[in-house]
């Protein structure tokens, strides 16, 4: 099978000019004179991405991640090397590129789709999916100048992910939208991944990459430092960030007193950057890291991993944890969210009367949550968290770590609403109800 994306010896050079006049002088000299110096944003990067891979791209600020994505998607030409793309590639950098604020949402879906290179007929065919996913209701027929910025990006995102891309390129650092929509977006990403879409994903957070991707690469100063399994690459990244922090603190410690005044601002900024990067790179970026959630799985009634389950059937969410430190008192919580990001249900070991024992360092434990799902059909996702006994300290959080779909009921009409509460219906004559009410 041909790779979905391959890069051969790709480099990107930027010419740095002191000012605009130098640029003009160099252009007019037709290569006889140089007024610039070179900056290599990428240097000799070769990479093959097999179809269906979810590739995480890690690296510090300025490592060349965004340049790599821009070149892979064909927006920037490489200075050296070649890029080969097989299939429809959609890059989510500029959601809603070419949107016209005077046009309605409906017209802009068409315009944006055509700009992304999709056939007119295909956009018409997928129109309902796009409108449903964008979930902006009647606003679809209003000019988008009346939209909030969140609604605009929802619409752009809806077009981009509903036209069945073969390769999807996204930069998490540019993610927009409210918390609820982020859930929806994340869930759609899982769906696309599971349906075999090749995804290139830039993130600062090793946690997200480890959860979401099955391969990763590490960039540093424009060079490819590591390729391989997400775990190994993430470790290299953490080492890299820690090294950078050490260097940073050394510079702070051994500074010359005269210099210190002048460089104070710079040093502080550096410290700030490395600190926040370190936090993001650290596995406990959503928790203290004393515990690590190894996996979250959704199982059907036969206890087999499932992507689809029948309505009203019993679903088991299996959470596997590892305690990196000894923890005296802890609990595991799972939360089920529907496609609108609404918290439908949550269960906790402590609250539901199955307290966890005191854990040793290095101890592994598996917790199964089995529950019936009398819920409306559609996609759902599961967030798992490990909390300390005080309920305020999170040891680890795996946000939207697993997703599944409840199928449409076969034997009956789907009910309206979120949950199908067990209902008993009785019909009485009116006087009887009155009498009962009076006697009560």
């Amino acid at each position: 099978m041909r790779p979905a994306l391959s890069l051969h010896g790709v480099s990107k050079r930027y010419r740095i000019f002191q000012n605009g006049r130098d640029r003009l002088k160099e252009t007019l000299s037709f290569g006889r004179k140089r007024y610039s110096h070179d900056f290599w944003a990428l240097k000799d990067v070769s990479l093959e991405v097999e179809p269906g891979t979810t590739l995480g791209i890690l690296g510090r600020n300025g490592a060349g991640k965004s340049t790599l994505l821009s070149i892979a998607s064909g927006i920037l030409p490489p200075s050296e090397g070649t890029v080969e793309v097989n299939g429809r590639l959609i890059a989510l950098f500029a959601l809603g590129a070419g949107f016209n604020s005077e046009f309605t949402g409906r017209e802009n879906i068409m315009l944006n789709g055509l700009i992304l290179g999709i056939e007119r007929q295909e956009i018409l065919d997928r129109f309902d999916d796009i409108a449903e996913f964008a979930d902006i209701g009647e606003f679809i027929d209003q000019p988008i100048k009346t939209y909030s910025s969140g609604m605009r990006s929802k619409l752009g995102f809806a077009v981009a992910v509903n036209v069945k891309p073969d390769i999807l390129i996204l930069d998490e650092t540019l993610a927009v939208g409210d918390a609820v929509y982020k859930q929806v977006a994340l869930q759609k990403m899982y769906e696309l991944r599971d349906s075999g879409t090749t995804i290139l994903f830039v993130s600062h957070s090793t946690r997200t990459v480890e959860q979401f991707c099955n391969k990763a690469i590490l960039l540093d100063k424009g060079r490819l430092l590591a390729t391989g399994e997400t775990g190994e690459v993430a470790e290299r990244y953490q080492e890299l960030v820690q090294e950078a922090q050490k260097k940073g603190s050394k510079r702070l410690g051994g500074r010359d007193p005269v210099d210190s005044l002048a460089h104070d601002g710079e040093a502080q900024a550096l410290e700030k950057v490395t600190k926040s990067e370190l936090q993001m790179a650290h596995p406990g970026d959503d928790g203290t890291g004393e515990t690590k959630i190894r996996s979250v799985e959704v199982l059907d009634e036969r206890l087999l991993p499932a992507k689809k389950v029948a309505p009203d059937s019993t679903v088991t969410v299996r959470v596997q944890l590892e305690y990196l430190e000894a923890v005296k008192d802890s609990e595991v919580v799972v939360t089920l969210r529907n496609k609108a990001g609404l918290e439908v249900f949550s269960a906790s070991t402590a609250r539901d009367g199955v307290p966890l024992k005191e854990m040793e360092k290095g101890e592994r434990v598996t917790v199964d949550f089995a529950f019936k799902v009398p819920l409306h059909h559609g996609p759902y996702n599961v967030t798992a968290a490990a909390r300390a006994g005080d309920e305020d300290t999170y040891l680890d959080v795996a946000d939207a770590a697993a997703a599944f779909r409840i199928t449409r009921p076969q034997d009956r009409e789907p009910f309206e609403g979120i949950v199908h509460l067990p209902t008993e219906i009785r019909v009485h004559d009116a006087p009887e109800v009155e009498r009962q009410g009076r006697s009560a």
Binding site: Y14, L24, T27, S70, I71, S73, G74, I75, L76, P77, P78, S79, E80, G81, T82, V83, E84, V85, N86, G87, R88, L89, A91, F93, A94, A97, G98, N100, E102, F103, M110, L111, L114, I115, L116, G117, E119, R120, D166
Partner: protein, 281 residues
């Protein structure tokens, strides 16, 4: 499944032919973008697209009142000596000139104005100047309709030669498009070109026989009419709309050759330069 390769070297002849093919592949997009630009001009007004016809009519009326009635200038030899004499002569020359100046002045900005398309998505940039030129020609058509209405209504004349005008407009499209490509490249590399161009366009207005009749040009300045491609275009419009006669064959042949050369040069230059646009913005 489609395969796309990008490499460090800018496209050769194959890439340029491929780029021509994108015009057909992306025809719906071109249509939408042109529509968007035409609609934008009249958006928010109560009469909407009616203005596209109404504003050239108002223009004809104004020119007529000033030049034919107030100043009493007569250049056309029309039986019955209509009051519309010079106004129509002037407006007929203005129609193709306005399309030309609009396409150029917008073309020079087009890459910078659409920076979200240049930097955000993979987009066939050669479409952008084409939509600008098409938009200007659509407005050009409304102008022609307005003139014909006035001519038919007030002079009770209708020249059948007008059916040949679309042929002239095809050559005009090629000519303007070539210039628009060149200007788009120049304006992206050198921002100062934008201001310079306004002056140049204004100058071409005066050296083209729009305000003045070709018959009154002194001998030593006749090259302004003979070698100015815009003069050939303007004359062709007048012959077909007002004169009811075929335009000068040599003039049209000269204009067509200039148009073709400009287009080929402009298109090739644009295709070689477009890879650098994202870096330049």
């Amino acid at each position: 499944m489609s395969t796309k390769t990008t490499s460090a070297k800018p496209g050769g002849p194959g890439a340029i032919l491929g780029s021509l093919a994108t015009f057909y592949e992306r025809r719906w997009l071109i249509k939408y973008l042109a529509q968007r630009q035409v609609a934008r001009s009249y958006q928010g007004s109560y009469l909407g697209l009616v203005w596209a016809l109404l504003s050239p009519l108002l223009m004809v009326a104004m020119l007529t009142v000033i030049f034919s009635n107030v100043l009493g200038i007569r250049v056309r030899e029309v039986t019955g000596d209509s009051a519309l004499n010079f106004g129509l002569y002037l407006y007929c020359g203005l129609i193709p000139f306005l399309a030309y100046s609009q396409a150029l002045n917008q073309g020079v900005n087009i890459i910078r104005r659409n920076s979200d398309l240049v930097q955000g998505v993979v987009f066939p940039l050669e479409i952008l100047p084409l939509t600008t030129v098409l938009t200007s020609l659509i407005q050009n058509v409304f102008g022609v309709v307005a003139v014909s209405l006035v001519l038919a209504g007030l002079e009770q004349r209708f020249n059948w030669t007008i059916v040949l005008l679309p042929l002239v407009m095809v050559v005009q499209l090629v000519f303007t498009l070539g210039l628009a490509y060149l200007m788009a490249v120049a304006g992206t590399y050198i921002p100062d070109i934008r201001e310079t161009l306004k002056a140049v366009v204004r100058a071409t207005f005066f050296i083209t026989p729009i305000l003045w009749p070709t018959g009154r040009v002194p001998e030593q300045y006749s090259f302004l009419v003979d070698y100015n491609p815009l003069a050939a275009l303007v004359e062709a419009y007048r012959d077909l709309i007002l004169g009811g006669q075929l335009p000068d064959a040599w003039g049209m042949a000269y204009f067509s050759i200039v148009a073709l050369v400009l287009f080929v040069v402009g298109f090739v230059v644009f295709n070689r330069a477009k890879h650098n646009f994202a870096d330049l913005l």
